[in-house]
């Protein structure tokens, strides 16, 4: 072996090492996502078409918003099973309110929409508040508290509308918001990005963010440090409820009707999955919202890609399950390499 060869080898090894260090720093998810996107662009040109990108972004945004709320609660050491139910109830409340307002104040779309949106957000906040009080004041484990409130919320949603979709939303709510595209991107994406920015700021620059991480990391330490953990735990659940309600509104505007079927276990499981794949720890204290957003995009693209590639829809769950496990396993291997045992 000549000196030059050795040099080259070591330099390419150096590159590799730089690459692996870079991956270590940012995690495996961005890498997987890039590979997935590039691969799909090459395999199937329709993937990068405007319509398809719009679809992906819209789905990813909706998922990301619930997942943000879920992540916040998980970071604070809790669990929110009720998000799906809140999405459903908020959707119905919004639709029912708008329908009623539509007859009470005909033609005043702005007012009608404002009332509907307010009612939906209020619903989310209320359920979140109940969750928070159960957890922080009654000291019920978040899992059980939100399991209970999920059951109650879904029950209420069913009673309100008997599961029949609620129509009669102002047309402008659907066309100018739900299905709208602003500068080529779907409206939902703007909402999601705005929420992401706010949350990232909250995490880094506010006491609320700091305290939620502290409570999730070691709640006794937080108490002893003089943090009134109750208030902040309640805040986490309220924000999660609020974000679930936002998701309900987005879906309502997209579909054009209030639907109880929006909720359900799927939304709840997916929101937890997106958060956990995005690096949020179920034991609390750890997680970043940017990664949760990436993971929501990843999951949305994955299912879109499987459909575009015309994978039999019965095999898709198998694929998704395997990829889920592999992605997290890869990330775990990376982490074990870099941090100690």
């Amino acid at each position: 072996m000549t000196v030059e060869e050795a040099d080259m080898r070591s330099s390419s090894r150096g590159d590799l090492r730089a690459l692996s260090r870079w991956i270590s720093a940012i995690g495996i998810l961005p890498v997987l996502l890039t590979v997935l996107i590039l691969g799909m662009c090459i395999i199937d040109p329709r993937f990068s078409g405007v319509a398809n990108v719009t679809n992906i972004l819209r789905n990813a945004s909706v998922l990301a918003i619930v997942a943000f709320g879920q992540a916040l609660v998980l970071i604070a050491g809790g669990f929110d099973l009720s998000v799906g139910a809140i999405v459903a109830l908020a959707s119905e409340i919004a639709a029912v309110t708008m329908r009623w307002a539509g007859t009470a104040f005909p033609e005043q779309d702005a007012l009608i929409i404002a009332l509907g949106v307010g009612a939906a957000l209020g619903t989310g906040i209320l359920v979140g508040l109940v969750n928070g009080i159960c957890v922080a004041v009654l000291r019920i484990s978040g899992f059980i508290a939100t399991l209970g409130s999920m059951s109650v919320t879904l029950g209420i949603a069913l009673i309100i509308t008997n599961g029949i979709p609620v129509y009669g939303l102002p047309q402008s709510f659907i066309t100018q918001f739900g299905r709208a595209r602003w500068f080529e991107f779907p409206s939902a994406a703007y909402v999601a990005i705005a929420i992401l920015l706010v949350l990232a700021f909250v995490q880094r620059r506010t006491v609320l963010g700091r305290y939620l991480y502290a409570i999730g990391g070691n709640s006794e330490a937080a108490i002893v440090s003089g943090i009134s953990t109750r208030r902040y735990q309640i805040a986490a659940y309220v924000i999660s409820g609020l974000l679930a309600a936002v998701t309900g509104l987005l879906l309502t505007a997209l579909v054009g009707s209030g639907q109880a079927s929006f909720g359900g276990d799927l939304m709840m499981l997916q929101s937890i999955a997106a958060a956990v794949i995005g690096g949020v720890s179920l034991h609390g204290g750890v997680g970043r919202f940017g990664m949760v957003a990436l993971s929501a995009i990843f999951l949305s693209i994955l299912s879109n890609a499987l459909n575009l590639l015309r994978v039999d829809s019965r095999i898709q769950p198998i694929f998704i399950g395997v990829i889920l496990i592999c992605a997290v396993a890869l990330d775990e291997i990376r982490r074990r390499r870099t941090v100690h045992d």
């Binding site: 329709r46 993937f47 078409g49 319509a51 398809n52 679809n55 789905n59 069913l158 008997n162 599961g163 029949i164 979709p165 129509y167 659907i174 299905r179 879906l251 997209l254 579909v255 054009g256 009707s257 639907q259 109880a260 079927s261 929006f262 359900g264 799927l266 299912s303 879109n304 459909n307 575009l308 590639l309 015309r310 829809s313 019965r314």
Partner: protein, 333 residues
């Protein structure tokens, strides 16, 4: 006067008790002889389809003067819950049980046990073939599938190539798979019609929306969507957004949204099995059995196709509950 007072009978239905199916004019009894207690079990009450069945059941219970209690299991994946609700019905001393089964054979053993206690069991809406069943009123899924397939074939213009993507419903439900197969068998007769793919998925609008959107991308040549009512509902928006006014939608079952969409011309047709009538007949059968009157063991609604042309002629109170009606879970006399 509520719609319940409207005289819906005689109603043309199939008597499928014998080997050869014959058409009959179905008419109910006037009044029950006693205030029987009838227990009704539903898979769920989460869409206007089952609400329509419930409407029929409630109205007929009132009309005949019987007590009725309705329980829903909360969804198609809650078979164990339905089983225990069945047991609870037996335990609470029901005279007869009307059931929309979650799973065909799932409740077979429960039915056998009820038979041993001589509690009649009447299957409603969801197909259930069993020797132990006392009576049943449900449509033949095959005929539903073929009715909707024929509706699709009818709307295909001569020489037009129809590329269909089907959205039958949740994988693993049984009925979705069955209808999909029957649909494919029927359309296979027409060489111009091609089924590109079948996309299974839960019957929520959000889930179906994603499936339709992806299918629009994956199958650019798709110009027919055949699927569940939520699929159709989702597809309307998705097609409008994609600017694909050329794609036609056929729904495999009925709900309020389908009716509205048909009125607006957003969908081409939907099929109906007259769920309200099914509910009414089920209660009538139960009363006949308890009063020891003659009854038809297996009554099948004749699947109907509702499109622009038939819509005006149809009495919609046989298809859906009035919009103002809200479900009643018990009727006490």
């Amino acid at each position: 006067a509520s719609a319940g007072d409207a005289k819906w009978y005689p109603f043309k239905m199939n008597d499928a008790s014998a080997d050869t199916v014959k058409v009959v004019d179905y008419s109910p009894v006037e009044k029950a002889e006693k205030r029987h207690k009838i227990c009704v079990l539903f898979p769920h009450m989460k869409d206007s389809f089952w609400v329509a069945v419930a409407y029929g059941i409630t109205e007929q219970s009132k009309a005949l003067g019987v007590n009725m209690n309705l329980y829903e299991a909360g969804g198609y994946d809650n078979l164990p819950k339905q089983l225990s609700q069945f047991d609870d019905c037996v335990a609470s001393g029901a005279d007869a049980i009307v059931i929309g089964v979650i799973s065909t054979v799932g409740v077979a053993k429960q039915v056998l046990a009820a038979k041993a206690k001589s509690i009649p069991v009447i299957a409603v809406t969801n197909s259930f073939i069993s020797r132990d069943l006392t009576a049943g009123v449900f449509v033949d899924l095959k005929s539903m599938a073929s009715a909707s397939a024929n509706a699709l074939l009818a709307s295909v213009k001569a020489g037009e190539a129809a590329n269909v993507v089907t959205f039958p419903g949740p994988a693993g439900s049984g009925w979705a798979e069955t209808m999909n197969k029957d649909f494919e068998t029927v359309v296979a007769n027409n060489p111009n019609v091609k089924t590109l793919s079948s996309k299974f998925g839960d019957t929520g609008v959000a889930v179906q929306l994603q499936l339709v959107q992806d299918a629009l991308q994956a199958y650019p040549s798709m110009n027919y969507i055949w699927g569940t009512a939520p699929t159709a509902e989702a597809a309307i928006g998705a097609l409008a957004e994609a600017g694909r006014s050329d794609v036609k939608i056929i729904s495999t079952y009925e709900n309020q949204a389908m009716l509205d969409a048909l009125k607006r011309g957003d969908i081409t047709a939907f099929t109906t099995q007259y769920p309200v009538i099914e509910g009414r007949v089920a209660i009538d059968q139960a009363v006949r059995i308890l009063d020891k009157k003659p009854f038809i063991r297996l009554v099948q609604p004749i699947a109907g196709v509702i499109d622009k042309t038939t819509m005006g002629k149809m009495d919609m109170s046989t298809v859906l509950a009035p919009a103002s009606w809200s479900p009643v879970y018990s009727v006490k006399q």
